[in-house]
């Protein structure tokens, strides 16, 4: 099983890099699905089958589908790819990558600074335990999560609505005024 973990890890990292660096949005999303599936496999190896399933269903399923819908609505074609080429020049990656690497280095330092190494896992967690914990001590969290989802729903509905032309014009007018006042 350890082999599964390591292979999945490599797949996840490679797929993620491809997703983040890709020029074509649809290609990137496909890479991302691969990455999520690989992570789901890792979850499975770490004894979290329910989570693995949720990863596949929600991340690789629902969320990516949302992305694809949007990409399709916006109809990003070859023009967009060309644009991406112009936007993502090679040397732009240097600074942020360096920053991320420093952060990584710090994390690694923290991890391997510990005196005790190679801690083994304690074992799988049963779905029953998960349920009992979720609806036991974390009840309030679940309630709050539902609120967040509701807020997300309302927000997405409100923002995604196509405005009346005059309304849009008004909204655009106001910030300009604010800028002028200042």
């Amino acid at each position: 099983m350890n082999a599964v973990y390591y292979i999945s890890s490599v797949v996840a990292v490679v797929a993620t890099v491809a997703a983040v660096t890709g020029l074509n949005a649809v290609h990137s999303l496909l890479y991302l699905i691969v990455s999520f599936l690989a992570v789901a496999l890792i979850f499975f190896t770490l004894g979290a089958p329910v989570i693995a399933a949720l990863e596949v269903i929600i991340y690789a399923g629902a969320i990516i589908v949302l992305f694809i819908f949007v990409v399709m609505i916006l109809n990003l074609g070859d023009v967009a790819v060309e644009q991406e080429k112009r936007w993502t020049v090679g040397k732009m990656w240097v600074g942020p990558a360096l920053l991320a690497l420093v952060l990584m280095a710090e994390l690694v330092y923290v991890l391997f600074q510990q005196t005790v190494h190679h801690l083994p896992g304690a074992g799988p967690i049963q779905p029953q335990d998960l349920g009992a914990t979720l609806f036991g001590p974390y009840m309030l969290g679940v309630e709050l999560a539902s609120m967040v989802l509701l807020a997300g729903l309302v927000g997405a509905y409100h923002l995604g609505r196509r405005r009346q032309p005059d309304e849009t014009a008004q909204e655009r007018q106001e910030p300009v005024d604010a800028g002028a006042r200042r």
Partner: protein, 102 residues
């Protein structure tokens, strides 16, 4: 059942997080920014799972669920914003939407 040292799990989470971060910092296309954000959230979730696995406690998984919920809410609102942005500015370049500068 695999016995993966916690460090390695966390290392993977860190690597994924760093990749996502680099994406957020580099990409100008807002869709890719959101996509990179999803990677980062996922990496954070992975860290929780690894920790939960290490201690044999379900709390890590519970927190992954919360991260998941948040990611779902965030991406729905975020994508709605992408639509608005495209409608208003006719582009997906985040740098164009910089009216809140001081």
């Amino acid at each position: 059942m695999a016995s993966i040292p916690m460090e390695q799990g966390l290392l993977l989470a860190g690597v994924l997080f760093a990749i996502g971060l680099t994406g957020v910092l580099v990409r100008r296309n807002i869709i890719f920014v959101l996509l990179s954000l999803e990677v980062m959230l996922n990496a954070a979730g992975l860290a929780f799972i690894v920790a939960g696995y290490r201690w044999g406690q379900p709390d890590g998984q519970v927190l992954f669920l919360f991260v998941l919920t948040m990611a779902a809410a965030e991406v729905s609102v975020g994508l709605a914003l992408v639509l608005q942005l495209h409608r208003v500015f006719k582009t997906l370049d985040v740098d164009v939407a910089s009216r809140m500068r001081g």
